[in-house]
Symmetry: C5
Subunit: 355 residues, 5 copies
Amino acid sequence: MMIDRIFQEFSRKSGMPPGSVVPVGEKRDQPTTIRYFHYSEKDYTEQEYQKVTELPDDPGVEAVTWVHVNGIHHPSILEELGTKFNFHFLVLEDIANTGHRPKLDDWDDYLFLITKVLTYNEKTSLVMPGHFCIICSENRVFSFQESGPDLFPLLRERIRNGKGRIRGKKADYLVYALLDTIVDGYFSMLEKIGDRIEELEESILDENTDEAFHKIHVLKRESTVIRKSIWPLRDIISRLEKNDWFIEDNTRYYLRDVYDHAIQSIDIVETFRDMLSSLHEVSLSFNSNRMNEIMKVLTIIATIFIPLTFIVGVYGMNFHYMPELEWRWGYFVVLFIMFLIASLMGCYFKVKKWF
Amino acid sequence: MMIDRIFQEFSRKSGMPPGSVVPVGEKRDQPTTIRYFHYSEKDYTEQEYQKVTELPDDPGVEAVTWVHVNGIHHPSILEELGTKFNFHFLVLEDIANTGHRPKLDDWDDYLFLITKVLTYNEKTSLVMPGHFCIICSENRVFSFQESGPDLFPLLRERIRNGKGRIRGKKADYLVYALLDTIVDGYFSMLEKIGDRIEELEESILDENTDEAFHKIHVLKRESTVIRKSIWPLRDIISRLEKNDWFIEDNTRYYLRDVYDHAIQSIDIVETFRDMLSSLHEVSLSFNSNRMNEIMKVLTIIATIFIPLTFIVGVYGMNFHYMPELEWRWGYFVVLFIMFLIASLMGCYFKVKKWF
Amino acid sequence: MMIDRIFQEFSRKSGMPPGSVVPVGEKRDQPTTIRYFHYSEKDYTEQEYQKVTELPDDPGVEAVTWVHVNGIHHPSILEELGTKFNFHFLVLEDIANTGHRPKLDDWDDYLFLITKVLTYNEKTSLVMPGHFCIICSENRVFSFQESGPDLFPLLRERIRNGKGRIRGKKADYLVYALLDTIVDGYFSMLEKIGDRIEELEESILDENTDEAFHKIHVLKRESTVIRKSIWPLRDIISRLEKNDWFIEDNTRYYLRDVYDHAIQSIDIVETFRDMLSSLHEVSLSFNSNRMNEIMKVLTIIATIFIPLTFIVGVYGMNFHYMPELEWRWGYFVVLFIMFLIASLMGCYFKVKKWF
Amino acid sequence: MMIDRIFQEFSRKSGMPPGSVVPVGEKRDQPTTIRYFHYSEKDYTEQEYQKVTELPDDPGVEAVTWVHVNGIHHPSILEELGTKFNFHFLVLEDIANTGHRPKLDDWDDYLFLITKVLTYNEKTSLVMPGHFCIICSENRVFSFQESGPDLFPLLRERIRNGKGRIRGKKADYLVYALLDTIVDGYFSMLEKIGDRIEELEESILDENTDEAFHKIHVLKRESTVIRKSIWPLRDIISRLEKNDWFIEDNTRYYLRDVYDHAIQSIDIVETFRDMLSSLHEVSLSFNSNRMNEIMKVLTIIATIFIPLTFIVGVYGMNFHYMPELEWRWGYFVVLFIMFLIASLMGCYFKVKKWF
Amino acid sequence: MMIDRIFQEFSRKSGMPPGSVVPVGEKRDQPTTIRYFHYSEKDYTEQEYQKVTELPDDPGVEAVTWVHVNGIHHPSILEELGTKFNFHFLVLEDIANTGHRPKLDDWDDYLFLITKVLTYNEKTSLVMPGHFCIICSENRVFSFQESGPDLFPLLRERIRNGKGRIRGKKADYLVYALLDTIVDGYFSMLEKIGDRIEELEESILDENTDEAFHKIHVLKRESTVIRKSIWPLRDIISRLEKNDWFIEDNTRYYLRDVYDHAIQSIDIVETFRDMLSSLHEVSLSFNSNRMNEIMKVLTIIATIFIPLTFIVGVYGMNFHYMPELEWRWGYFVVLFIMFLIASLMGCYFKVKKWF
């Protein structure tokens, strides 16, 4: 499963010309939808299209156009978009390669940004990284979501009813709003992982250890996946903040806020890793302690009874001449001696703090 | 508990507009108090308010105004302050998010600084990080304390009686004094943790190991919490020192002093972590040694008595023709032989240094 | 085997003059082939030579010449090439030293680049790094492959049928195409390693542990070999991108793409190492758990039967006066008592969760 | 003990005004001595004072004045010095705080330098870091030693008899000479620790392991203390070397020499830590090996005798009809069979290399 | 032994004046030899001297003078050289301190360079670092070898017969040739270590584990020694390459080649360390596996026979009324039941995969 997620990207055949737009994520049956938003401070238009050709041309400089493509597994749609809006085919290739790591490229006319939407599937205990790309130029934002449910219902609502600042701002604020929503989404995902870790921490004593080790291993693996997706954000947002032709001065404060949140989520992942390592150690220690306890019981029982069994064996011998056997109270004397030996050994173990 | 502390911050719903001032720490019943100090070299005023509207306007440039808000769980108070004194709502949001990591932002008109007040709860063995924010402009300092008892009784006393340098200095010296008090507070907290570690080190031999492992795990976790709170201070104070419009030249020496203390406390936390790792190793070693000792006892007892028990078993057999049984001294000869075997084995173990 | 691969390079005798072109890879019987390509937008020539002297001189500035040498174990060929095209003998030495680490040198007239072609031999489970060097000047590219099958059939095909961009571009694009093919080759190699790791992860529970440890050790060793070969690429491509006399502006985008892929493959190797470490830990834990289980069975059996065996031993003693022996139901009473003891112990172990 | 040494510094009460000169090292009964040296190329004066007021004023620019204060636990002396020679009270505070980490501060008029004198107490096996401070201006050097015996008898001798270069040089050379003596002192201390480690390495096989683990733990802890004291020197001397108003050009070569020695001693401490980690691993391995050996003996004895004991048990049963019992040679046949079984098992264990 | 090698340097008494030329390596009986070479493109002179005073003065600018001193344990020779050729006594001190770490100092008139010659003593399994220093000015090179056999017979031969480039080059090429020979020597030393590691890897399964652990420990320690000697070379050669008054442009390519080799040898040492760590883990795992196997045998034998022994014990009791004893086939029934129990247990263990 891990290996699949790692190798999502590499389906392009070695030696083939670059720029072949071949989506490599699993083909999902969900049809591709294109949501078109066009808004300015006073007005807004909203429309849903199935085809790229239906998309209206750029209607003016003042307003912001947001095209959201959900479902990037139809290469034709990407190619049509590329042709219509003049995107480099290397960009289209990177959008289609759903396993590409997060990055920010400045293509002079537009910025190209890859991030990951992380969702935690509680049934399979897997973190599924969803590919999410943004292409933004001065007054146009294209966002590409690999698949899955709508991520921005609240954001859309804010645009529609004109509350908040978004309608009065440029495209850079929209990019901020998208990133903010995605990074906020990390926290709810991390919270679910956090709950798992807490459950594990509480049950570590009762748990069957093999299962606990396996759970720790799985959570560690997942936190590696998360880390790989979130870590590059630190650098990306920081570079985005420094961009001088797209980001306006008063948006910079907001980006700094997203940056803080991204770092916070990185911090949380690192804390999780620390805690999981510590839990691993603790459960190893518990394990070896339990082993010790078992050994102690065996040792106490064995060391007490082995000598006694020897003694009774001695008087089970069939020698013709064994004077003790004839003694009237021989049997009881031996019983008493054995009781004495057992008691002494018990005291010895007590002193040694073996129980 | 750990997970709770990590996730204190993230209650803002994903997709909501930024700047919603929603405090996310536990609601505490303690009412919010606003302490107002106004002092210059000659004079000082002190007042306690419940409402922001009652706060006097800025009375002049020469004097320093210090507004200390204890209890930030009433969003209305933060919002009123923001309106009255013109703070950006992102700043207010960060004050309300009690889980926000320490940072320093320069908002041109004012500096915004987040630190953590760390208190060690000896009953629960938990380090509780308290949110503490400072907003400072040229002659005004606002400090926000999440909750808890007054942290600055001595500082207030120094302002009142005009001793020390504070009355003759500007607002930057007050900020230094606040930071100094907070960083000094780290040491008493660290000392308590240090005492715990020392107790642990001394009792590691006698202690029930499961308990020791648990204690080490808890202390390690707590030192992770502390480190996360103190570590960013290094960078924050260093950047504060370099600030050129708020910090005056002769205050820089004092900040360097706080900086030294912050680094010292980071050093101590790192030393604690080293010691805890080392203690973990030592107690693992002790554990495995104890195990060894137990095994040795079992082995000695078993290896001595198993052959002897075999011998007495031999002469317990009921064969009709067993010549030894009829010998006059057969019984004693066998007893002697067994004694000989046991002695030889004892010597062998002695040579092998098994006891 | 590892050691052999590490020391491939060092056959030059200490103290000998530098620049002695002595190939140090294993001598392979494969004859050296020299493939000559000469193409411009309109036209192309293709030829295969055995001797350097047969190579045509440079036929013009507009066209690109690509000379591909497969098999570098004949020093004479390298020396002739060096003489004919005026390469520094240190460059020739580095081509012949098949163990040299990847690097990029700027020799003013030409760039010299060393990379590794990595192939995974599934039979021996070894990653075989193949030496691959590129010398490129403004309109000429020389590539040197240590040995093995043709790596660029698709690339050659693209040149022949004039599809794609390659025929219309300069030599820098050819260098990009070569690097792209090599880096893409890493992914198929990594995928094979990934499959091995996945197999291992799935079988770790059933596997004989000694074998599992050995496999993990081997895979770790191989990922060290890979890492050493891929890691320097990051720096090399990044420096190549910054070159100002060979790389043209529009090729830079393509190199950035190769750079992304190189980093991705480094990421994958690091993930593999993480996973292997984690698997090692998991299999250690499983191992110690299995040990625990075995110990538990021994302990349960032994602690139940040792006291019972003692009891039956008691009544096997031959004392003349043992009242219980004469009792009518003595035998059954003893059997019942023993059954009671065994049951009580079973309950005790059940409560202790030993089974 | 560790914790004590860590917390030496923090006795200043939180919230108190900065600059309170409160020495926090243990009060020692040793009285404070002030050694006054005044020398130029031709002449020198030497004097010992008890009081600061007795100290002569600065007698001229050409000569160098060296005031050495041994015993800094009398705050009054520090305060008087501060008043007389105009030192900042933060400097005095740092001199009094014997736990302050090494640092170099440039106070424009003078340099302030903190280092540590390390002595190894062989009885307690503790490295005691002694506080050592230097204040130096163009022709005056003040050195402050926490306590203990005279560190510079040879240096003083060199000044007295005018041999070596020191009399002809400025104050910067004196500072170099002090640092050189201190750093040289590290080596003799490290040599003692090194001897301990070597002893440990040689005795690791014979040693009681609990004791060995404890010794390794103690030595590790001490090397942490040393490292913390020496590590900052690297940076301090390097910055001192770059100072442009105090250090003269031809003294820089000497400082570079001290710098080399400081790095060498850091190297040694790191090597010690490596060796101790390796020793820990080795002794863990030996421990587990010894455990193995013990287990093997138990297993061999038990697995040979358990089946034999079963056999003799069989013929100890009291069934009325057991044909073998009546056979003439039954007893000897059984003895022979048991011998055969034991021999076969012995061979099996031999083949398995269990002994 | 390790400790000795670490502390080779520190014999200078603390507090003594710097610059006392006291060689601290073991005194070897080998007499000091001084080899004098003087060559230009056309001509060369070779001479061997015993005394410094016999050395001819500098005979001209065009030619290169190479003075090679083998055996630096006679302080008088160093001092005479220092006087005659005007070297700083700190340089002489560093030459005499055979434990000094590698470094490069620029003394304006000449460069001073320390490296290490590493030889592997196969008998003691110790890597012996030999001190090697170079002082070079525009047309003169002085090299100082601690002791041992001639390192440069081939180089000398190349000078004599005028083959190769060396006769036509300046002193900087000679320095390159010396460094090249030394670095090449590392590879043959590393190859010997590599052979040891490979032997170890192959025999790890058969080996007595205590011995294997010891060998791994020794090899790790040696690789620490090597690393410490080679690591600084990276920085030294890189700085030498950047030198602008001694190194000529066309020599820079050669230095880059040595640099590559130095990095390669660092790479190899790091790979060795990785492999040794991995081997340590593997042998720990094998060890614990073997332990498991032993435990399994014990457990199988014990758990099968303990219940059987109990049963035969039951029928060995001497109760007067035990009905089974009188049954005709009682004995055989019991034998059969015991066979059944043993078989069932065998199956159970088979299913559990215990053998």
